[in-house]
Symmetry: C2
Subunit: 425 residues, 2 copies
């Protein structure tokens, strides 16, 4: 992974990081790296995620999906980290599999989807570490019922990834479903490179071993200096900008197939770092499209943003046909890729011109190896940032209140506190 | 439209708006409203958008799309405001039309899309007010060429919406294509309820007149007080929270079909208000999914956010089947809609519990009339907010630099300023 933080330096941007401040920060990066390595060595909760490139078992994943290899449709039933890693890989890498991620409980959406797909050609992957996630279990019950109604034996078309206990484990045991173990010590948002995220990629025909090989490259590249390690360069720079006022991180890949990557990043960054009143707010964007939507604000709005520009250096290109239309000669002989690259570089320069910090991230191309590296490096960047903020990177305590309240409402056991109303209609 | 700003008041939230501050702000709302009405009366640039419910001509739109009524696929070629309004309507309202919005210049995406659809069954709507937008023209040239290669007469399957001059107008004249006039005085991001956004809805079989009727309701509801006008209640509260520190507006609809609405809102809000160092940064979210992604940050991160919760009060529901699984009795006899509503209310309460301001927006259901009202009211909210900030709501000067630079790069006429590099790889 290639990371260029030049446009985030104080000589270019405000807020920006003085180069000597980055050098001082590097002492903290060295200490943080030692702490991270110690956590990895002891397979501590969370840090264990950074060992997945070594501990994940691609053969077990291949075995689990093998019975479903001829499926035309994948229904991944899981929410949050149990959806986004898989969706990121499948959306980026493409393939013929018609993959759907049932990660919401919108009845109209669920009904439309179930009416649209051929359930007899569908493999269902139910993913919940706890085995008790309300949305996931509710959706699974609906899917199972729809299969029964359609005369499809759901037990022949379902496999699960879950922890050692819970409803899903019981279900797998009872019906002899293929069951993958959710990796120990790995929070959902760090589980793309495991039995949580990789089965979808395998079903779509992608090389799981190559994804992990890319991730291993990232692991081997972890060193004690942000000047030698692209993951840490990114994490440290984002942190240093946030504490200088760039509280928003606009993640803007220049590739439609990486749009889901921006969502995955948004979860990783928000849920890991958003605590104790700290944390940078991710904003998902897409180049070049959002130049016609968000760029005005990024350039001329409040100075509270870092813009992260991501692209692949190689791709399948497509020429722009010659035209009789006047004034379009600048497009002549060019390609859509040329146009996209020109917009990438012009946007980067336009942010610099107005003093808005940006970081450029490049990968060689969008393939298994590069994706594995990209996801691993951003996970490592996030873990480093968590160390620098001094937060508990791997927990998400603030979501529990709402979960309990929703459960209380549904069971009728308790209501909500009285709400202050000021209604206008 | 029902707007409840109770949870944005200072008695509930920090930042929050003291109720007497809202009352004082209402004087400014009254003045702003007078200014808005004057602009509407004179059909001034931008303000003219708020007259679209009266000035749009649904019959002309129906006539333009009528020759293409049997098309199975819509390819909407346009970017930014020339895509998002149409996409918002079609994604929300559904229908059998297979609609695609070519709003990026990613060659791999364009190629995959063109290989995937039956061009002989496709209607192409090319949308550019100026008629010269680089991305749109490049994509159109590619689409036209693909149709020719496939033996499809593109002149029989294409219509345009554009201004009085430019490449697209010339093209329509030369090839006798049906051509709709882009509305005068209406910036792209305010053009959903016009010849820009409505043709896609018409092609998908929706009642354009009902959409406009909903918008007319919104227009009739514009009054000089935020306490009487839901659009102004929203715009004034968002503004009042921003100036008190809530620089981020997380737009979180609880309906998959409104996900694109959040994108439309993000453009409207960012490009209209993001200037002079001012403007609230929109963050697109989706309920209930993002409870498992962004909620941790919203509740426990920096106190810089307003969360806007949007839902429809009625929908087609789907029961959750009974289950033998233990511990799920709280779901028994319920529906996915019950679960979604419980999550909506629990999330709203959980934000209040941690003192994070939120606003609740409800529409009766997701249909033509309600959508027209929703879009109109958010446009009016944005125009009001622009008055309160004192910015030029209807321009986007900060994007020109990058457009010129990209054009210079492509034509080879000029390069970019030298870039500061600090590369780690």
């Amino acid at each position: 992974m290639h990371v260029d933080v030049g446009n985030a330096l104080a000589v270019e941007a405000s807020p920006g990081v003085p180069e000597d401040a980055l050098e001082r920060l590097d002492d903290r990066v060295r200490d943080a790296h030692e702490h991270i390595v110690a956590g990895m060595t002891r397979e501590e909760f969370g840090y264990a995620a950074l060992n997945l490139p070594k501990t994940a078992d691609p053969a077990a994943i291949e075995r689990a999906v093998e019975p479903f290899a001829d499926s035309e449709v994948l229904l991944n039933v899981g929410i949050g980290g149990s959806a986004l890693g898989a969706a990121t890989l499948v959306d980026a890498l493409g393939g013929d599999l018609d993959a759907h991620f049932l990660d919401n409980v919108d009845p109209e959406h669920v009904t439309a989807l179930l009416e649209d797909i051929d359930l007899s050609q569908t493999v269902v992957h139910v993913v919940s570490r706890s085995g008790t996630t309300a949305e996931t279990l509710a959706n699974f019950l609906v899917v199972r019922d729809a299969m029964e109604q359609a005369g499809v034996d759901w037990t022949e078309r379902t496999f699960v990834t879950t922890g050692p206990e819970g409803n899903l484990r019981d279900l797998a045991d009872e019906h002899d479903l293929p069951a993958l173990d959710a990796p120990e010590g790995v929070p959902g948002r760090f589980s793309a490179l495991s039995t949580v995220g990789l089965p979808a990629a395998a079903l779509a025909g992608h090389d799981v071993e190559a994804i992990l090989a890319g991730a291993r490259e990232g692991r081997a590249a972890l060193t004690g200096s942000l000047f030698d390690c692209p993951a840490y360069a990114y994490g440290a720079t984002a942190y240093a900008l946030d504490v200088r006022g760039a509280g928003i991180n606009a993640m803007m890949p220049y590739a439609e197939s990486l749009e889901t990557f921006a969502e995955w990043f948004a979860q990783l960054w928000a849920e890991s770092l958003g605590k104790d009143g700290l944390g940078q707010t991710p904003a998902r964007a897409l180049g070049a499209t959002d130049q016609h939507s968000q760029l005005q604000l990024y350039r001329a709005g409040p100075r509270d943003k870092l813009v992260t520009l991501v692209r692949a250096r190689e791709r399948e290109d497509r020429g722009i046909p010659d035209t009789e239309l006047e004034g379009l000669d600048y497009l002549a002989g060019g390609s859509l890729g040329d146009l996209l690259d020109a917009e990438f570089e012009a946007t980067e320069a336009s942010l610099a011109e107005s003093g808005v910090p940006s970081v450029r991230v490049e990968i060689p191309r969008i393939d298994e190896r590069s994706l594995g590296r990209l996801l691993y490096d951003f996970e490592a960047a996030c873990v480093l940032a968590g160390e620098l903020y001094g937060v508990e990177t791997f927990t998400q305590p603030a979501v529990e209140w709402g979960k309990d309240a929703a459960r209380g409402l549904l069971s009728g056991e308790r209501g909500l506190p009285e709400k202050t109303e000021l209604v206008v209609e």
